[in-house]
């Protein structure tokens, strides 16, 4: 009895078709023929399954691919519309801008005035602040002298009058 075909020759028969010698063997050996048929059948079912699966997935995948390629939708009205929108926006913002600017200017003017007033006060003072106690003493002495002189004159005046 002829030996059965080894596994690699079974695979060769399925992959590239049987050579004449193998073809003769397959015609005589039911077991090898059945094994080739079983492998071919399994591969045929696999092909059908993959093709069916691919057909089911293909349209969806193509839709996704087309959507991914499509540039994002744009709303386009033409340049006159955009120019009008820009002008309206500028006009709407202008009063707000003016109000804010006026407020800032007023606040700055007030701050400047306060500063000038402070400087004016400082400059008008005749004695620097560290010397103020001494100046007070001096002013106190002169004030007391003036008062005593006043008293004397008053008394003389009084005496004159008395």
């Amino acid at each position: 009895m002829t030996e059965h075909l080894p596994g690699n020759r079974i695979a060769e028969c399925v992959a590239a078709g049987p050579a004449p010698e193998e073809r003769r063997h397959l015609a005589e050996c039911a077991q090898c023929a059945a094994e080739v048929a079983r492998l071919e059948s399994a591969l045929g079912h696999f092909r059908e399954a993959v093709r069916g699966w691919s057909e089911g997935q293909s349209a969806g995948a193509l839709g996704k691919a087309r959507a991914a390629r499509r540039p994002p939708a744009r709303v386009w009205f033409g340049w006159p519309v955009w120019a009008a929108v820009a002008l309206a926006a500028a006009l709407a913002v202008a009063p707000v801008y003016e109000t804010v600017r006026d407020r800032r200017q007023a606040a700055q003017a007030l701050a400047d005035a306060q500063l000038l007033e402070q400087v004016g006060q400082d400059v008008s003072e005749s004695v620097p602040s560290p010397m103020e106690p001494l100046a007070q003493l001096v002013s106190w002495d002169s004030a007391s002298q003036e008062s005593s002189q006043g008293n004397t004159s008053n008394s003389s005046q009084n005496g004159e009058t008395q």
Partner: protein, 192 residues
């Protein structure tokens, strides 16, 4: 653009192929199913397969001037697809396998999509089991063996076309194919 003839393809054929590549919508209409199917069978992930198919057709369209007519447009596209699948798997290996696992295919469901799998419920169940076993074996193949296997048994390309699409010699294609088939045969339950 000026088509360039090769020894295998006359000028008219190259002109015709170049026109085909120039019309992107027609190119997608004609070749999307095939390129997508190959990528899907190779990667098992519909999203990744769609991405590869899109890149493949765009690349072919942009490089139409480089087409020399050394093979058919279909084989040339498959060559681009083979490279893209390989690059995709290599450059994003971790992410790719993670995502593939996340979107793992339920092959029982896939097998159910083909109503003529067996004439009786028992035969249908046996056929579905065969499909699952072949898929399992194919997933376990090394990258080149899997590519050659898919091109041969899903796309039904002959050995010379596969050699042109993969850039391998015919003898190397045969060797990969035999090894792949032996692995599938073991999984399906062959004797010897």
């Amino acid at each position: 653009m000026q088509p360039v003839a090769s020894a295998e393809f006359p000028v008219n054929a190259v002109e015709s192929a170049t026109r085909e590549l120039d019309d992107f919508d027609a190119l997608v209409g004609k070749y999307w199913p095939r390129v997508f199917r190959f990528a899907l069978a190779s990667m098992g992930d519909p999203d990744a397969a769609g991405s590869v198919a899109q890149d493949c057709l765009l690349k072919a369209h942009r490089k139409a001037a480089g087409f020399r007519g050394q093979s058919s447009v279909g084989t040339w596209l498959m060559r681009i697809a083979v490279n893209l699948v390989r690059d995709h798997a290599r450059s994003r290996r971790l992410q790719f396998w993670k995502r593939t696992r996340e979107t793992a295919v339920n092959w029982d469901d896939v097998a159910r999509q083909v109503p003529q799998l067996g004439s009786s419920p028992e035969a249908g169940a046996a056929a579905r089991e065969q499909v699952e076993r072949v898929w399992k074996a194919a997933r376990g193949l090394p990258e080149r063996q899997r590519t050659v296997f898919v091109l041969r048994f899903v796309e039904e390309m002959d050995l010379l076309e596969i050699a042109a699409a993969t850039g391998l010699r015919e003898g190397t294609v045969k060797a990969h194919l035999f090894r792949a088939l032996q692995a599938v045969r073991r999984e399906v339950g062959g004797s010897g």
